[in-house]
């Protein structure tokens, strides 16, 4: 077990760290440059732009997917004949390969032949996601919400199903309204499940690559170029291994930082 982790994670990681502190011209010509690449990357304006775009994107999708997922979960009947069917239908978007998701949306949103594109244009709104940065953003966010809300919904449904009947009964006898039931009974008990959901969405959305790349190619211009795409361009397109490696390490540390911050804030609340 330890050997597998070593080969699949530790060694590649150490290799990247190794590259990040060297200037590599070709395999045999390397110079140790210390933290130069790190300094350069952190001061690179395009990196900073991509970073803030990324933060904006992650926060936006989480802000939409979590409440929406909970609402969907609340709408699923707990013990009906149709429940298994509904759960399967909800799970479908999660099973589609990510580039297929992007391709579906690419066609769906096309202003000339896509159902969404044509419908919006028919309403009088001038919609062309390849031309307008705002519309590109909206389309990408819509795609991500379509793709991942089911995850939150399924997790929340599991959490809600675990709430024993007496809690609802007592609330009914207390005269509690629907919002009070949600705030005082369901939300506290969904906390564990929501922590997992937010953590997963945070990490995944921060690493998002395939969907925006296929849908908009990062455009128009740089409007939807997120961190991972910029990194790939640097590493694979420009073949700057040194800076790319440094970038990777920084990227990795950011994700680790977010997860750690989130985790500790939840654990400390759990202990009070």
């Amino acid at each position: 077990m330890v050997l597998i982790v070593a080969f699949s994670a530790v060694i590649p990681l150490m290799t990247v760290v190794n590259y990040s502190v060297q200037d590599i011209l070709d395999f045999n010509t390397r110079f140790f440059v210390g933290f130069d690449w790190y300094r350069e990357t952190l001061n690179d304006p395009r990196f900073i732009d991509a970073f803030w775009r990324q933060i904006g994107f992650s926060l936006t999708v989480i802000a939409i997917e979590i409440p929406l997922g909970i609402m969907v979960a609340k709408g699923i009947p707990k013990a009906s004949r149709y429940t298994p069917l509904i759960l399967i239908l909800l799970a479908l978007p999660l099973l589609i390969p990510w580039n297929v998701v992007a391709t579906i949306w690419q066609m769906f949103a096309r202003p000339d032949i896509g159902l969404l594109g044509v419908s919006i244009n028919a309403l009088g709104i001038d919609y062309n996601y390849t031309a307008s940065p705002i519309q590109a953003w909206l389309t990408i966010v819509a795609m991500d919400v379509w793709h991942w809300t089911s995850l939150v919904a399924l997790l929340s449904f599991a959490g809600l199903s675990a709430i024993p009947g007496p809690f609802y009964q007592a609330a009914e006898l207390d005269g509690a309204g629907k919002w009070q039931v949600f705030r005082l009974i369901e939300l506290p008990r969904l906390r564990g499940v929501l922590v997992i959901a937010v953590l997963l969405r945070l990490m995944d959305s921060f690493m998002i690559y395939t969907e925006p790349f296929v849908l908009t190619g990062g455009g128009p211009g740089n409007a939807t170029t997120f961190l991972s795409q910029y990194l790939t361009t640097m590493a694979v397109g420009q073949f700057d291994l040194g800076p790319a490696a440094a970038f990777s390490v920084i990227y990795f540390l950011f994700i680790l930082l977010f997860c750690w911050l989130f985790y500790t804030s939840v654990i400390s609340r759990d202990e009070t």
Binding site: P164, A170, P188
Partner: protein, 339 residues
Amino acid sequence: MAQITLEDVSFRYPGATEDTLYGLDLQIENGEAHALLGASGAGKTTMLNLLSGLLSPTSGRLLFDGNDVSDLPGRERNVAQVFQFPVLYDSLTVAENLAFPLRTRGVATDMIDGQVAYICSELSLGKIRDTKPPSLSLFEKQLLAVGKALVRPDVSLVLLDEPLTAVEPKIKWKLRQTLLKVQKDLGVTMIYVTHDQTEALTFAERVSVLSAGGILQTGTPTEIYQSPANEFIGHFVGSPGMNFLPCSAVPSTTGDRIGFRPEWAALVDEGHVDGTVTRVRVYSTQDSKAHGLVTLMTPHGEVFVRGNAEFETGMKASVRIDRCVTFQGGNRVAEIAHV
């Protein structure tokens, strides 16, 4: 507080072939402490749910103070319930939990404060007023659940669904005592549902014994214990239940069988029925002598006698029955206080 009446109430779950409860007739007085005693599957939970409004009777009527509430939803019946485990709002403090049922009904703030203070002092919750449930012990949590059920001064009925289940055995009596005291102080109509006959007999002014969807007998604990209406109750109530012997074993009795409780008999040299001791369970000492339950195997089956336990398995002994109840066809015929 209200008078609760069940008029020929029956209930059948949708899709079931038989009634779960059939033809229940029961009247519980205003301010009465009433217990519903029955084994699992007897229909206690269904009856509880009919009273709380979770279910509506399939036929018959349910009346609170003469008003038909059969189809009224739970929130409009003014009923409160205490469950087997503490059902509380974990994000609210003790005081906020208590205030909640009053706040949802728009009661004035100063009245709410007064009621909360009253309940806190009745149940000695004052010290933990500002604590939240996750920091409380199970006993304190269940106590809070009881307080929450009693906080509304106009509550018609408080239902208790085996409320001592989660509490540690050693502390059960404390919660029992509190319930008794608070019921008497507030004069609230309480219906206590349980499978534990100790809980039922110690708590209630009257007990209804439920079996297979019907009420077998309603009476005071003394009546239920000392003159059970039929053999089932004689066996079900009491630990262990009544011993049954054919009437022929005890002359001067008429009927099919006689039932006598383990403490209504003694083991002597010459009694009514002879047997061999098969088991001795010592529970305490009286005058330094072993005291407990002796199992005697007689020609008519096992007999349990409570009292002097200075016996060994294999010894011969005889049962002298001092008091018994006679049954015919399973139903009580007569009580014989001195045999």
